[in-house]
C-alpha cells in the first residue's frame, strides 16, 4: 500500500505526522512529505490512523503499483 495525498485539500495541519511520524512529516515550508513509499502491513495500519485523523480528509491509502 501507498499513502496518497490530495494536495488540493492538504492544509498542512500536521495531525497525520503526529500520528505517523515515521511515515510523514511537514517540511520547512509546511508541505506534507511522505517518507515511506511502500508500506509494510504494520505501517499500513499506522497510515490508516493518519488518514482517519486528517482534519480535511486529504489522505488515503491505495494499492502500490
Amino acid at each position: 500500500m501507498k499513502i496518497s495525498v490530495d494536495r488540493d485539500r492538504c492544509e498542512g495541519y500536521g495531525v497525520c505526522a503526529e500520528v505517523a511520524p515515521d511515515l510523514l512529516h511537514l517540511d520547512d515550508d509546511g508541505e506534507l512529505v511522505v517518507d515511506v513509499e511502500d508500506l509494510t502491513p504494520e505501517q499500513t495500519e499506522t497510515a490508516a490512523s493518519a488518514a482517519r485523523v486528517c482534519p480535511v480528509a486529504a489522505l488515503s491509502l491505495r494499492d502500490a503499483g
Binding site: 495541519y13 500536521g14 495531525v15 503526529e18 500520528v19 490512523s49 482517519r52 485523523v53 486528517c54 482534519p55 480535511v56 480528509a57
Partner: protein
C-alpha cells in the same frame, strides 16, 4: 478492552475540546470508537477564542492513547453536507454508528458582539439548526442497522430556566442561546417519539456552568466579575461548587449511551449541582 460500549461507534460534534473532548475520552475509555468534527475556526459574533486544529489534534492524541480509533475532521454543523461527509467517512472506517452526541455549541451571550441580531441568528444556526442537521444526517443509519442507538443532545440549564437576572444583562445573543437550548427539548421529544419504535433513544442533557474554554475565558470573566456581578446569580449552584467539570457531563452521556439507560428516552437530564433548586 471490554467496556459497556465495546464495539460501538459514537459520532460527536464539537469534538476538539471542552465537553466534546470529554465525551470522546469517556466513550472511548468504555470501548467505543469515535467519529466527529469541530469547526476549528472563529465565528464573527463570538468574542472568546473558539477551537483550533491544534485542539482537534490533542483530542486525536488522547483518544488514540486509549487505544481506540478515531476519525476527526474539520466541519460545520450549520452545513448539512459537511456533517454527512464526516458521517460517511466514519461509516467507511467503522461500518456502523450507534451513538450521536449533538454537542457543538457557541455562547455569544456577553461581549462586544453579543447584543446583535447576528448573535441571535448564530445561536439559532449552530445550537438549533446544527443539532437538527446532526440528527438528520445520522438517524437513518441507526434505523437501517436495526440495533437501536442513543442520541444525546447538549442543551443547558439555560434551556429550562431564565439565565437573565438584570435588564443590563440582556443581550440578543443570550436570548438566542436560551431559546435554542429550550427548543432542543422539543426537538428531542419529537425525535424520541418517532424513533422509539426502533429502540433509538433521544435525550437532552442540561449542564450548569461547566469548566470549559467556552465558559472560562476573558470575555465571560470581564462581563460577570467586572461589569455585571448580579449576573453571577444565574450561575449559582445549590451544591458548594462554582462549576462542574466536563467529565461530569461525560459520565451522564456515557450512561445515556449504555444499555444501563435502555428505557430512558424523551427526557431531560439535569447535571446542575442543584442549580434548579435556587
Amino acid at each position: 478492552m471490554q467496556g459497556r460500549l465495546t464495539g460501538k461507534v459514537a459520532f460527536i460534534t464539537g469534538l476538539a475540546r471542552g465537553q466534546g473532548r470529554a465525551h470522546a475520552l469517556r466513550l472511548a475509555s468504555e470501548g467505543a470508537d469515535i467519529v466527529g468534527l469541530d469547526l476549528c475556526a472563529q465565528i464573527d459574533t463570538v468574542d472568546y477564542p473558539m477551537s483550533t486544529p491544534d485542539d482537534l489534534a490533542e483530542t486525536v492524541k488522547l483518544v488514540e492513547g486509549l487505544d481506540r480509533r478515531i476519525v476527526a475532521r474539520i466541519g460545520d454543523v450549520r452545513d448539512a453536507e459537511s456533517i454527512r461527509s464526516v458521517v460517511r467517512s466514519g461509516l467507511d472506517e467503522f461500518g456502523r454508528l450507534d451513538f450521536v452526541i449533538a454537542n457543538a455549541g457557541i455562547m455569544p451571550i456577553w461581549g462586544e458582539h453579543s447584543d446583535t441580531m447576528a448573535a441571535w441568528q448564530d445561536c439559532l444556526d449552530v445550537l438549533l439548526t446544527g443539532v437538527l442537521n446532526t440528527i438528520e444526517a445520522t438517524y437513518p443509519q441507526l434505523v437501517a442497522q436495526g440495533s437501536g442507538g442513543s442520541i444525546v443532545i447538549t442543551s443547558s440549564m439555560a434551556g429550562v430556566a431564565p439565565m437573565m437576572r438584570t435588564l443590563e444583562g440582556r443581550t440578543l445573543g443570550l436570548l438566542g442561546y436560551s431559546a435554542a437550548k429550550a427548543a432542543l427539548v422539543n426537538l428531542a421529544q419529537n425525535y424520541a417519539s418517532i424513533l422509539a419504535a426502533h429502540h433509538i433513544r433521544v435525550n437532552t442533557v442540561h449542564p450548569t456552568g461547566t469548566r470549559t474554554p467556552m465558559v472560562v475565558n476573558e470575555v465571560m470573566a470581564n462581563h460577570v466579575v467586572k461589569d455585571h456581578p448580579d449576573d453571577l446569580k444565574a450561575l449559582v449552584n445549590a451544591m458548594p461548587v462554582d462549576m462542574v467539570e466536563p467529565e461530569d457531563i461525560a459520565a451522564a452521556v456515557a450512561w445515556l449511551c449504555s444499555d444501563d439507560s435502555r428505557y430512558f428516552t424523551g427526557s431531560s437530564l439535569r447535571i446542575d449541582a442543584g442549580a434548579s433548586l435556587r
